[in-house]
Symmetry: none
Subunit: 229 residues, 2 copies
DNA sequence: ATCCTCCATATTTGGGGTTA
DNA sequence: TAACCCCAAATATGGAGGAT
């Protein structure tokens, strides 16, 4: 994509790596979303930037998808090993949101009931996340104040002892708180996934039916399965 | 992509939906892989086909990513009585992709109270608009059904008269009719079928032509404001 | 029914330059 | 520094026809 061809290899230049991460992250999230809508599939995606920030998408519910994963994968994990790989992460921190506008008065006109339902659910989820976040902020704030109060009490006591006879006024708390080849696309895909497989970065689930046509060995190996019934 | 532009909407044709699923699934897996390599990010992806098959990709280790997710994202749900949820970029439909994209994956950790409040307000507005839209759809749907019911009643009446050997009298549909012409017979059959439909004795096909069933309407009504569990 | 190939067009996204 | 905008090269992927 873009001017130059990309080598499937960690981008060295820190800046462009960051930029690419941002772009591709959005692209991936979008694609995941589209897949879930277009094909009525359940999709869950977790992304952690090298700087440690987390991003996620779940067409239905992350926990549900995870549970489903554990359930289905657990069953066929008898003869499959999964392994981990450790890559490293670095600094950086991603940004702000374009919070404003646009959620105000848009399209909706072309949406069907189902989409509306889903959209509503998503928005509700968002609201819930935000509320949770607010609660957390508040509770942190409160404990901070408590801590301060304790400190102040000590200080007060100290002062009293040190200079008894004096009367102290109540102290008021306030103030601030703290790449691939263009040969054949299909083959490319297979190759990539195969690579993934070979390096153990992922593992295949070996679709429940071992009754896959055997004339596509490579594809079978590569693809996490051939498609769906 | 491809020949025609794509509507972000569930693909009706079962076959092409399956094909698209397969293609896009591969594409998504590939992109996820590329992101993890190029940008040195940790990516975990779960896909469940509508038929129930599971596919996955994990740059490091699925369990590790899940744990990390629970740790980072789950924090905000400590004192939360509700289940964890995720936002996705359905909001995209609302017009601007940007906000939605961010809302989708970005964790809220960098936001302050003020931003959170604003965001929450916007999301609530969105939810309200969606509900309004749903109400409108439902009411339109209901009036459509009522209208249909009237038509069917008329046809039934017509049928009754016909079957009793009464002279066929034009009752309502279109212009006057003579005797039992092939056309009227056809119409009669159609009426029966429709009647069966209306009484819920039959089941509907996949028709995408606004022909919803009672069941659907009922479900819509039920969902109207229930949103999701 | 599933999957592949081919092909034309829709999208994505490097790279640069600019601006908030 | 991060977020956009623009643009063209690089990809992704509908659609159609064919084989399995």
């Amino acid at each position: 994509m873009g001017r130059g061809k990309v080598e499937l290899k960690r981008i060295e230049n820190s800046t462009s790596r960051q930029v690419t991460f941002s772009k591709r992250k959005n692209g991936l999230l979008k694609k995941a979303f589209e897949l879930s809508i277009l094909c009525d599939a359940e999709v869950a995606l977790l992304i952690f930037s090298p700087s440690g920030k987390a991003y996620q998408f779940a067409s239905h519910d992350m926990d549900r998808s995870i549970a489903r994963y554990r359930n289905e994968v657990g069953l066929m994990e008898f003869n499959n090993y999964q392994r981990s790989r450790t890559i490293e992460e670095n600094n950086r921190h991603l940004g702000k949101q374009n919070i404003s506008m646009h959620l105000a008065g848009e399209d909706l006109s072309t949406l069907g009931m189902k989409e509306l339902k889903q959209l509503e659910r998503q928005l509700k989820n968002g609201v819930e996340r935000i509320r949770a976040k607010k609660r957390r902020i508040i509770s942190e704030h409160i404990s901070l104040l408590k801590k301060r109060k304790v400190d102040v009490s000590k200080m007060k006591q100290e002062l009293t002892l040190t200079s008894r006879g004096f009367r102290f006024q109540r102290i008021c708390l306030k103030g601030p708180c703290k790449r691939t080849t263009p040969a054949s696309k299909e083959r490319a895909v297979a190759a990539v996934v195969l690579a993934v497989h070979m390096t153990g970065l992922g593992y295949e689930k070996d679709g429940q039916m071992g009754s896959k046509s055997h004339h596509q060995t490579a594809r079978m190996l590569a693809d996490q399965d051939g498609g769906d019934p």
